[in-house]
């Protein structure tokens, strides 16, 4: 058995699992009920169809469970995605450190897995208890898909346990490649699981495969699955999960870094924290573009839905979103800047940090500038209108798009400075390469700003389109710089990186990331769910419960904060469990106590 053959077999398995899954997703029609049952219109529930149990209404219960399940599932599904990549890096480079780190990442997610299942079970129970009519309709639309979801969940558990517990048994040589294949299958199942759940969520926002007037089922399960918002949400959650998973394991590394005493262990956890931050930033950089696509598709599907999200009362939450994303970017950058101290060569890049900070903070301020304020008549009189004369123009999209693209470009620059601090290129064309990269940054930044100005002078209908060149520019800078750097690094003289030479303060930046991410996810989840307004299934099935309205920002804020705190409590417990699992009690002095 050679590695190529082993990998070929692994890919065959992956392909078979994918094919089986695709067939399974399309096949539930075979489990369909009688045709006349499907042809009936969507039910119209009345107030009596929403039980109040022990004084509890369905919405807060379902909301809490759904959000907790999403946090945990995002984490548990994300970790194996990057763990397989790290494990592969270890297998290719024959560097055991990668393997140890990958295994430790998995250990954290394993402790969270049972909580994921528990909250998932709680969510299902709450949905069937409080929303029986809605669930009845959704089960009809998706026919046997819920059973396939259950099978996928069993497969996920089997492969997750197999992957984790076979780690040391399949550690070297050909067995390592077999182990990697298990990881691939695990991720295939995990992603499919998420895609199926996403189909149910997005069906409620943009129903397909049903009669638009009555809600009667007219199409296949696949038609309902592949609704207009399915793929945008799939991509958005895929990237966000990676960023989220990276942020959480980064906090674990910081926790361990602060609690261990030996220099060797500190070096290990510092490296782990750096890698985790890198994963979080890598997942995060393309995320705004995926979010943009999702929002563009929401507008394309229903302008009304788009306006509810971004033009009404919920628009204010995008200012809070900007605040949180700004916090995440500042924390991630701060951590990278501190990291320059790990090498003696890093000091030469320190003078540039202040300029990067100016751009990040400036972009952050532009992003949080609201356009139209909620004001009293007296305040409007003092201000001379509903928006500020000077700062008002910073509230519209061209300014925000410019700010966010510049923030992403400069965050990438922070990463690139650290990467370069550990290498001295030896290739003859290094000078030329540097000039090409500097020119790329300079022209790219000018292009982003110019496209922003274009956005101002172009008619409103073109403003959204004007942001596309900005996105392309940002991605070009990242991809081309990385490519040139990777060629330049060939044969480069390595500078010693003093892992563990990090301030205590820097580690707190790693704690900021998961807290801000969690709160942000809950906030955006509230918006995504609220855009359906008083519909269970948008324009198909009305919500007749007492909660058929968008919750106020204040009450939603309380709920979001409560769930975030609950999740943080679970995560602290999970971290503690992971540490406990590695703790070995020393034998008492004088032998075993037999008394």
């Amino acid at each position: 058995m050679n590695p190529a053959g082993s990998m070929r077999r692994a890919w065959t398995v992956v392909f078979l699992v994918l094919a089986a899954t695709a067939a399974a997703l399309a096949a539930p029609d075979a489990l369909a009920q009688a045709a006349d049952a499907l042809a009936q219109p969507a039910p119209t529930p009345t107030r009596a169809d929403y039980p109040v149990i022990g004084g509890l209404h369905g919405r807060p219960v379902v909301w809490g469970f759904a959000q907790m399940h999403l946090f945990l599932a995002a984490f548990v599904l994300a970790v194996p995605l990057f763990v397989v990549v790290i494990e592969l890096a270890g297998a290719v480079t024959h560097d055991a450190r990668y393997d140890v780190m990958a295994h430790e990442f998995m250990k954290i997610s394993m402790a969270a897995y049972s909580f994921t299942a528990l909250t998932g079970g709680g969510l299902a129970l709450a949905l069937f208890l409080f929303y029986p009519v809605v669930m009845d309709y959704l089960l009809k639309v998706f026919r046997g898909q819920a059973l396939i979801y259950a099978v996928l969940f069993v497969l996920e558990s089997v492969f997750l346990y197999l992957y984790y517990y076979s780690w040391n048994a399949l550690r070297h040589g050909q067995r390592k490649w077999f182990h990697l294949s298990l990881g691939l299958v695990l991720n295939t199942v995990g992603l499919t699981l998420m895609f199926v759940a996403n189909a149910w969520t997005t069906f409620m926002m943009s129903p397909a495969g049903v009669d638009p007037a009555t809600g009667a089922i007219t199409g296949t399960v696949w038609a309902a699955t592949r609704n207009p918002l399915w793929n945008p949400l799939n991509l958005h959650r895929f990237l966000a999960n990676i960023a989220y998973g990276g942020a959480i394991v980064g906090a674990y590394a910081a926790y361990r870094f602060l609690s261990v005493r030996s220099i060797k262990e500190r070096a290990h956890y510092d490296w782990m924290g750096y890698t985790a931050n890198l994963i979080a930033v890598a997942g995060f950089l393309p995320l705004p573009f995926a979010g943009y696509w999702l929002m563009a598709e929401i507008y394309a599907y229903s302008q009304q839905m788009g306006i509810t999200a971004m033009g009404g009362v919920l628009a204010w939450l995008f200012i809070i979103q900007a605040l949180l994303i700004g916090t995440i970017l500042l924390a991630a950058n701060y951590y990278l800047w501190c990291g320059l101290g790990r090498t003696d060569r890093g000091a030469r890049y320190a003078p540039y940090v202040k300029y990067i900070a100016v751009v990040i903070v400036g972009g952050f301020l532009v992003w949080v500038t609201p356009h139209t304020l909620i004001l009293s008549p007296e305040e409007i009189r003092i201000l001379g209108g509903t928006s500020h004369k000077v700062l008002g123009p910073l509230g519209i999209m061209p300014a925000k798009n410019t700010a966010v693209n510049l923030m992403l470009v400069f965050t990438f620059m922070s990463f690139q400075l650290f990467y370069r601090s550990g290498r001295v290129p030896t290739v003859s064309w290094a000078g030329v390469g540097n000039m090409v990269i500097v020119a790329l940054y300079a022209v790219g930044i000018v292009n982003i700003v110019a496209a922003g100005i274009y956005g101002y002078i172009t008619p409103t209908v073109y403003k959204v389109g004007a942001s596309v060149p900005q996105v392309v520019t940002t991605l070009t800078i990242i991809v081309v710089s990385l490519t040139i750097d990777s060629f330049m690094a060939r044969g480069a003289r390595k500078v010693e990186v003093h892992w563990g030479r990090m301030s205590t303060r820097s580690q707190y930046a790693l704690f900021v990331l998961p807290v801000a991410f969690t709160w942000l996810m809950a906030l955006m989840g509230y918006i995504r769910s609220s855009v359906r307004t008083h519909w269970h299934v948008y324009t198909i099935m009305k919500d007749a419960s007492a909660d058929a309205y968008i919750p106020t920002i204040g009450s939603a804020g309380n709920m979001i904060t409560l769930v975030t705190l609950a999740f943080m409590a679970v995560i602290v417990f999970v971290f503690w469990l992971s540490q406990l699992g590695a703790t070995v009690q020393e034998a008492p002095a004088g032998g075993e106590d037999r008394s």
């Binding site: 000039m435 090409v436 020119a439 300079a442 292009n447 073109y462 389109g465 060149p469 070009t476």
Partner: protein, 42 residues
């Protein structure tokens, strides 16, 4: 030093042409007016 400056200038020019071409392509594909058509006539 001189060689670096020359390289930098050439690279700047090349990237300018590249980004302009990409922008133009994206704009026209979306049916957006080119920038100078939007400037007020003087």
């Amino acid at each position: 030093m001189k060689a670096r400056v020359v390289t930098f200038v050439i690279a700047m020019a090349a990237w300018l042409v590249y980004f302009y071409a990409v922008d133009w392509l994206i704009m026209t594909r979306q049916g957006l007016p080119v920038a100078w058509n939007l400037l007020p006539a003087s």
